[in-house]
């Protein structure tokens, strides 16, 4: 079977062990991005803590509720729901209220009064802001590009932070920076051809740093960059692409990490250790390292110390609130 069902030996009756479960967004655990990052936390917990894990993939929004209910019936000690989409039709709220004894963690979600629902949220604009600044600083053409898979908050928050970061650079240095692609969306997370065309369009428009916020479609951008033959680079999202896709390390400047793997793992570890379930929202920020820029990898020596220092300053500014990554500078 696929990795998700690794230890699903079909008898979820084992109450003695801790059972951690997750239900995917409309997508698979191997989306190279969002779902994969979350599921990674379960796998890590299985490897390191020896807990049992169980995953259910949803093929459409209609599957959310049955999948969550199935997890409750399977006796999961905690169930992760991955993605804001669980808000549609109030699925998360209803399932949580209907099963007061079960424990749920909702990634990118929120708590509207449920007693058994812990939200995990991320301030992705913070790290994207840094990425935007870095991109603008790194760019020789002073044109940077970004595009999204779909025009949804979970995507546009990255793009917005990125744009603001780049504009911050412009304001600070007085060098005009062009951000292209704020309205570029593929329309799905599958059409590699279109994603490549969008990337090529941005390269043609002079962009030499591209920030694709489109799940697995970054491979299309990578190819567009390679084909252009220039020195353009891209930025990853969710996971550190330079690590997960080592073959792309040479064009990946850095990645805007959404460290769900760790957050998920931490929740499981706490519960498995016998701590009580709490509904305190976990908010991943630059401050708590829930989100961050990856290391620069192969680009470490191409990013000047000056910029690195500047990024640290900005980070501090964001943490202390003096810079609002969501406000245009």
């Amino acid at each position: 079977g696929a990795a998700p069902e690794d230890d699903a030996s079909g008898s979820p009756a084992a109450d003695t062990d801790f059972l951690a479960c997750a239900v995917s967004d409309e997508g698979s655990w191997n989306d190279k991005s969002f779902n994969e990052a979350a599921y990674g936390g379960l796998v890590k917990a299985e490897d390191e803590l020896g807990v049992e894990i169980q995953g259910l993939e949803s093929s459409s929004g209609e599957d959310f509720e049955p999948n969550l209910t199935a997890m409750v019936e399977a006796g999961c000690d905690v169930t992760f729901a991955v993605g804001f989409n669980f808000s549609i039709n109030d699925v998360m709220t209803n399932v949580a209220n209907d099963n007061p004894d079960a424990h749920f963690v909702w990634i990118d979600g929120w708590n509207s009064g449920e007693t058994n629902l812990k939200p995990i949220q991320y301030s992705m604009a913070e790290s994207s802001f840094l990425a935007g600044y870095l991109a603008a600083a790194y760019s020789t053409t002073k044109t940077v590009g970004t595009y999204g898979g779909m025009d949804i908050d979970a995507v546009t928050v990255f793009m917005k932070g990125f744009e603001n970061g780049a504009k911050y650079y412009e304001k600070e240095t007085g060098t005009p920076v062009t951000v292209v692609g704020m309205t570029d969306f593929v329309g799905d997370f599958e059409n590699t051809g279109l994603a490549k065309s969008i990337s090529e369009g941005q390269l043609t428009a002079g962009a030499d740093v591209i920030f694709p916020v489109a799940g697995g479609l970054f491979t299309a951008t990578a190819e567009a960059i390679r084909e252009s033959g220039g020195n353009a680079v891209m930025l990853g999202v969710d996971k550190d692409i330079a690590v997960t896709q080592p073959e792309l390390a040479d064009i990946t400047l850095t990645s805007v990490e959404k460290r769900m793997t760790q957050a998920v793992f931490d929740v499981i570890q706490a519960l498995a250790d016998g701590e009580a379930f709490d509904i305190e929202p976990y908010i991943g920020t630059l401050a708590n390292d829930g989100t961050a820029l990856s290391s620069f990898g192969e680009f470490d020596d191409k990013v000047s110390d000056e910029i690195k220092t500047k990024l640290d300053e900005l980070k501090a500014g964001i943490i202390d609130g003096s810079i609002d990554p969501l406000a245009a500078p």
Binding site: G1, A2, E5, S9, P66, N85, I88, N89, D151
Partner: protein
């Protein structure tokens, strides 16, 4: 006297009226029922192989197969047993549940999923009968859903009336959307396959756009494209109480089956639709306006699919997003084909597909990945649709009493092709 019955043993007209029992039995055995069962058995057999060889436990035993082959067979048996037990538990009756109510929930869930599949399947089936191929289920469903949704929260009407008005909106939206393809076909000859494919994409984009604007969206509720939740007065009530999510819309889907049956088998309009589907030239010569029938067929198809969309939008208390179709529009094609475009066939095929959808979580928990489930579904359809193959494997099944015609149509098309550049 002259006679056309070349065979002396052919029945005279008088005795032909009465069915003969051996023929009836023969037809049952050769036709639908036994063969369908055989096809399901066959596909489950093939599926078992897939389940065994994608199961991690089983694969684990393969590494030492030659030292302890027994393990393999035990594990394989377990994998298959678990998978089908899960199928049964997930789609029909959960025997591990503590109460009957919980036990029967899977069956209710199957029916809940089946409802829109049946309605949309009928819509696609109708176009097949009229000689058209409506691939546009997705777009029509989305239109039915957003039009009814609009009425469900933008209009504020008393209980009962509101639901009916919202439904009418849904029917109008889906019917009009489908009608465009019929209209273009009738007036310009545009091939409905192209138009409906394109209209799917357009419908989703349009719906997404509207789900960002105040038309459908609650502008205080974030920027993700969603509708607003319907007013309570416009939501289908539950049939079996709060414990089950089966709603009155399911009954409407069953009513749709009867309506479809009446329309296609009994009504004169259905007679004309079928006539156009089988021989448009003869239909035209018999006074039927073929173009008008194409429009009618598409609009009617849109109404059935619209019911599926209404079921999706008003069969819930909350909002929805552009993914509301969730594959129903496409599965409807398979349902229609599997049900050979007849009312009872579509009903059964819809329920079968509903069961697969309902069983997906339990099957996944039993280590059958959703992809394998998809493969099993495909195999069942293929085997049911391939009587000669099933007969070749189960040799005891009799051949149907089919005769085939060597009929050719040599006359050029009645309507001279318009040359267009």
């Amino acid at each position: 006297m002259s006679t056309a019955q070349a065979a002396p043993q052919a029945p005279t007209p008088a005795e032909a009226g009465r069915p003969r029992w051996n023929d009836v039995l023969h037809d049952i055995a050769a036709g639908g029922f036994v063969r369908t069962i055989a096809a399901v058995i066959l596909s489950l057999a093939v599926a078992s192989i897939l389940i065994v060889f994608t199961n991690d436990d089983v694969l684990g035993t393969l590494s030492y197969f030659f030292s302890r082959p027994g393990d393999f067979f035990v594990a394989a048996g377990q994998a298959i047993g678990n998978a089908y037990a899960a199928l049964f538990r997930g789609a029909i009756y959960n025997y591990t549940a503590t109460s009957f109510e919980a036990g029967i929930r899977p069956l209710v869930e199957s029916l809940r999923f089946a409802g829109p599949l049946i309605a949309a399947g009928l819509g696609v089936a109708l176009t097949f009968r009229a000689g058209l191929f409506n691939i546009g289920g997705q777009g029509q469903l989305v239109m039915g859903a957003i039009w009814s949704a609009w009425a469900s929260f933008q209009l504020h009407l008393p209980w009962g009336l509101h639901l009916i008005v919202a439904m009418i909106f849904g029917f109008v939206g889906a019917g009009l959307w489908a009608g465009i393809a019929g209209f273009l076909k009738a007036k310009t000859g545009a091939h409905e396959v192209i138009v409906t494919i394109m209209m799917n994409y357009i419908a989703v984009s349009l719906a997404t756009y509207l789900m960002r604007t105040p038309v459908l969206h609650d502008m205080d509720g974030g920027n993700n494209p969603t509708t607003r939740p319907p007013d309570e007065t416009a939501v289908f009530p539950r049939i079996l109480g709060e414990g089950f999510d089966l709603r009155v819309s399911f009954i409407l889907c069953l009513v749709a089956v009867i309506v479809y049956w009446w329309l296609m088998e009994r009504s004169s309009l259905g007679f004309r639709l079928r006539m156009v589907g089988l021989n448009p030239d003869a239909a035209r010569a018999a006074g039927v306006n073929v173009g008008r029938m194409y429009i009618t067929a598409m609009v009617l198809s849109g109404l059935f699919i619209g019911l599926a969309g209404i079921n999706q939008s008003l069969g819930r208390d909350g909002n929805f997003g552009p993914g509301i179709d969730s594959g129903i529009g496409f599965d409807a094609i398979t349902v229609a084909l599997l049900g050979s475009s007849t009312a009872p066939g579509v009903l059964l095929a819809g329920i079968l597909f509903g069961m697969f959808r309902a069983a997906s979580p339990t099957m996944q928990l039993a280590d059958v990945s959703p992809e394998i489930l998809g493969v099993i579904q495909g195999l069942i359809v293929l085997f049911i649709a391939a009587p000669p193959l099933v007969r070749a494997i189960f040799r005891f099944l009799p051949k149907p009493r089919e005769v085939t015609e060597l009929n050719t149509r040599s006359k050029p098309q009645l309507e001279a092709k318009e040359e267009v550049q």
